[in-house]
Assembly symmetry: C2
Homo-oligomer: 225 residues x 2
């Protein structure tokens, strides 16, 4: 009720779960970057990138800044995920406002920094703090959201083949999808626009598509974009 002074200071931090798609020869998977901690608590453990909220900085700006500082990345999608505020999740009392971000394959080359490494999102080591739990929640949100928004686009360049789009869905959902059914569903959704160009290479030429930009990547409602 009262808005005088808070009882005792609580630390306010931001962490970001950053997902990218990693393609192998015949497979794709979701990866995320982690930072190795160089001091206690949890020295030597891997943790989500993040940092303290600067008192002169909006929390959204802290998310973008710490993401750029620790990984060099500018995401194609950045959204607040959840504020984790349980007692005991950190030695001092810390509330972490967690964001999640998607980055496109073509920008991930710039991310090789000291103490930063990319991990398979579904096969992580024991992370610092409650970060395993946070990643689980972010993966759940990603899987959910892919069903009702064009969030998969956040992993792809501007133009892509249907096979590449299907690969994104398969990596997120963790299962194979029937190519013919998938084509029918996305063509029926009205969210894709075929271009006149084709991807050529070792396979049969495949038409390139782009997303209909009139459809928002994900509806954020009245929140600032």
């Amino acid at each position: 009720m009262t808005r005088t002074t808070p009882p005792t200071p609580i630390g306010v931090a931001v962490s970001t779960v950053i997902f990218r798609l990693r393609r192998d020869s015949d497979d794709a998977r979701i990866e995320l970057p982690l930072v190795r901690r160089t001091r206690d608590p949890h020295e030597g453990h891997w943790a989500l990138p993040g940092g303290w909220v600067d008192p002169a900085e909006n929390v959204d700006a802290t998310a973008s800044r710490t993401l750029a500082e620790t990984t060099g990345l500018a995401p194609s999608y950045l959204e607040q995920l959840y504020a984790f505020g349980d007692v005991g999740r950190s030695p001092g009392r810390v509330v972490s406002i967690v964001y999640w971000a998607l980055v496109r394959e073509d920008v991930t080359a710039a991310t090789e920094q000291h103490n930063v490494a990319w991990f398979d999102a579904t096969d992580l080591p024991d992370l610092a703090f409650d970060h395993n739990h946070i990643v689980d929640y972010a993966l759940w949100r990603l899987r959910n959201k892919v069903g009702y928004s064009r969030i998969a686009h956040g992993f792809l360049p501007d133009r892509f083949t249907l096979a590449e789009l299907r690969e994104v869905y398969e990596a997120i959902l963790g299962r194979r999808l029937d190519p013919a059914n998938f084509r029918r569903q996305v063509e029926g959704s009205g969210t894709l626009i075929p271009t006149d160009d084709f991807r050529t290479g070792s396979h049969r030429p495949a038409r390139l598509y782009r997303y209909n930009q009139d459809v928002e990547l994900a509806d954020r409602g009245p929140l600032p974009q």
Copy 2:
């Protein structure tokens, strides 16, 4: 990155947007309780119920506690909405972790407390801080969520008629729905179970339904229930 000490203290508060359904003779609307502030900043303005996070208390628990203290309510649904953390939203730097809650009609009688009043959610006065913006966002989330979860149930008692359920949807969406189409859609969804009982009164007897409890009110994923 560092987890040593935060730069300067930031206040961490919780606010809650509590929605209930208010029925008039031939209409229903969404209402929420506000608390009149008895001190600066914004003395005399109406504000969302809430309070500071106690350092020894989980943030979720702060939401439940402040909700009970200020309104006497125990909600049928309580979920974290968003953490609002812009600089300048309060004279001191305050991050507000906002929850939203639904209460059933049958429990709202207990809420008449000093300095608390219920307002039409779509016709609010000028609230303290950024609380008008927060309510707008909560209403947007409610309208969105009613499309893909059984959140409307949070406003209703255990058993209800289809007309009562339609009234909830109409109040949330702010428009009339065709009764025959509505009946077809909910009966086809498999989320309702007809009972053998009927509501009698001035109208033709109407069958009472209940929600299929095998379907979660809203999927919260791996977050604690």
